[in-house]
């Protein structure tokens, strides 16, 4: 059920050795996110295009810039909303879904796709080859050989801001539809 797409990109600055690769981890498809966030509910697509005034009002109320006039929203059978949106993470876009109750409360947030751009193959020192049962120099692939990443904590503040923007989109626009 996981899908990973590898797209050729440009060499990032830094110290990349191979060609840069856009690595996308897809956690959930939109349909799967609907099942997880709005279990048992029927969803009716109700895409919205915000007017310039609405965008301005949402930005003011949420203190978050509105990049896109299009809101990929669906109404749920209980009167709530399911919205698929994206935010710019550290470098790449993160797709996420949020479910908002009829009363305007967040029912759940799921990250759908997380992207990072890697320098092609990961470093694989010769002496370490023995641990992987691979010949020295055999590149490790991020999608098949390495599935989990440890590092200094990445902040999820952009998602928090995105959710805040969508709550105001709901309060100012969707709840009046």
């Amino acid at each position: 059920m996981r899908r990973r797409s590898l797209l050729r990109g440009f060499l990032p600055a830094a110290i990349a050795s191979g060609p840069a690769v856009l690595y996308a981890e897809t956690y959930l498809t939109t349909a799967q996110a609907q099942a997880v966030l709005c279990p048992g509910e029927r969803l009716t697509p109700m895409p919205v295009v915000l007017t310039a005034e609405q965008q301005k009002a949402i930005a003011k109320a949420s203190d978050v810039r509105v990049r896109d006039a299009k809101v990929n929203a669906s109404r749920t059978s209980s009167g709530g909303w399911f919205i698929v949106d994206n935010v710019l993470g550290k470098h790449e876009f993160i797709d996420f879904a949020v479910s908002i109750s009829k009363e305007g409360a967040v029912r759940g947030v799921e990250v759908l796709t997380y992207r990072e751009t890697y320098g092609g193959e990961v470093r694989h020192p010769k002496w370490r080859a023995q641990f992987h049962g691979k010949k020295a120099g055999t590149p490790l692939k991020i999608d098949t050989d390495i599935k989990n990443i440890s590092g200094a904590t990445l902040s999820s503040v952009h998602i928090t801001e995105g959710v805040r923007r969508l709550l105001q989109t709901h309060a100012l626009v969707l709840s009046k539809l």
């Binding site: 059920m1 996981r2 990032p12 830094a14 110290i15 990349a16 840069a20 981890e25 956690y27 959930l28 099942a35 997880v36 550290k90 470098h91 996420f96 947030v109 799921e110 990250v111 997380y114 990072e116 751009t117 890697y118 320098g119 990961v122 470093r123 694989h124 020192p125 370490r128 023995q130 641990f131 992987h132 490790l140 991020i142 098949t144 050989d145 390495i146 599935k147 989990n148 990443i149 440890s150 590092g151 200094a152 904590t153 990445l154 902040s155 999820s156 503040v157 998602i159 928090t160």
Partner: protein
């Protein structure tokens, strides 16, 4: 690499929690729908830890004790009590290199929001008093604690404890790099290269079930024109300037999480003793890509 048999399902979910991205990977004979239900519950455990231990949430146990525990002892949730107790134990072992009372410095640098009374600058972890009988916390003087250096690890351990009762074949819980594995999923992980954290990974085989990594490279606050890291030396109050990252491999994620800070900040004779006492291993990566293992565990696998 364990390959999934036809009767096995695998899901991977990710939610923004604890200020970072929490990933849960589950593999088991259950249906995908059943695995998602288990993941929902697992995420709700992380949500509970966040509600109890968040510095940002004014209603959390942590915010309550930061406001009032210097006036009178305050009852907290047993989980909060347990994490503070373990944090104090690690403070004692590391001679204060790990200290949950450094929050005032983080507030000053705007890593943490400002609320609560003015803390006493001389306060340390030794001014925190726990009572087992009524699960309370008291401060000997006004101070502020932040569990940001240990709560993520605790949350990961709690989720793994829960998952271990659910008949899962294997699981990985990764809270922004603080990770623990269950069952057969042990494998090679990628540690972010400190010289290019978002474009290069260094592969590392897991010598223990849990790992946590700390480094200053995602720090984005500046003070007097210099980047400052949220990793602070408790004695000098100075932020970490080194660009080295340290990963600690341990049997629990909470110990791994806390020890990353201790190893970055404590004198070597102290942290080598603590690593041995906690049966943990350290991997240092420099921004140039040099690797140091301590003790030199990797060669032992040959």
């Amino acid at each position: 690499m364990p390959s999934s048999s036809p009767s096995s399902n695998r899901i991977k979910r990710c939610k923004p929690l604890l200020g970072t991205f929490v990933e849960i990977t589950l593999e088991g004979a259950q249906s995908e729908a059943a695995l998602h239900k288990i993941a929902d519950k697992a995420f709700s455990i992380v949500g509970s830890v966040q509600r109890m231990m968040s510095f940002h949430d004014a209603d959390s146990d942590i915010s309550r004790i930061n406001r009032c525990a210097h006036i009178a002892p305050l009852r907290v949730h047993p989980w909060t009590h347990y994490v503070i107790a373990r944090a104090l134990g690690i403070s004692s072992q590391t001679e204060g290199a790990f200290d949950i009372s450094i929050a005032p410095r983080l507030v000053k640098w705007k890593y943490l929001p400002e609320h609560g009374p003015v803390p006493d600058n001389n306060a340390t972890w030794q001014d925190i008093e726990l009572s087992e009988t009524d699960c309370s916390v008291a401060f000997h003087r006004p101070l502020m604690v932040d569990l940001g250096g240990i709560a993520k690890g605790f949350a990961v351990d709690k989720v793994i404890d829960f998952l271990s009762t659910k008949g899962i074949t294997s699981a990985v819980v990764n809270a922004g790099g603080d990770m623990r594995m269950l069952g057969g999923m042990a494998q090679t992980i990628g540690v972010r290269h400190p010289g290019a954290p978002q474009s290069q990974l260094v592969p590392a085989l897991m010598p223990r079930v849990a790992v946590a990594t700390s480094a200053g490279y995602f720090a984005n606050r500046k003070m007097h024109g210099q980047r400052i890291s949220p990793i602070v030396h408790p004695r000098t109050g100075k932020p970490l300037r080194s660009t080295t990252s340290v990963s600690i491999f341990s049997s629990t994620c909470m110990v791994a999480d806390a020890l990353t800070k201790a190893v970055l900040l404590a004198p070597q004779e102290v942290w080598t003793r603590v690593l041995a006492a906690q049966d943990s291993l350290a991997l240092f990566l420099s921004s140039r890509g040099d690797e140091v293992h301590f003790p030199s565990f990797s060669t032992g696998h040959a």
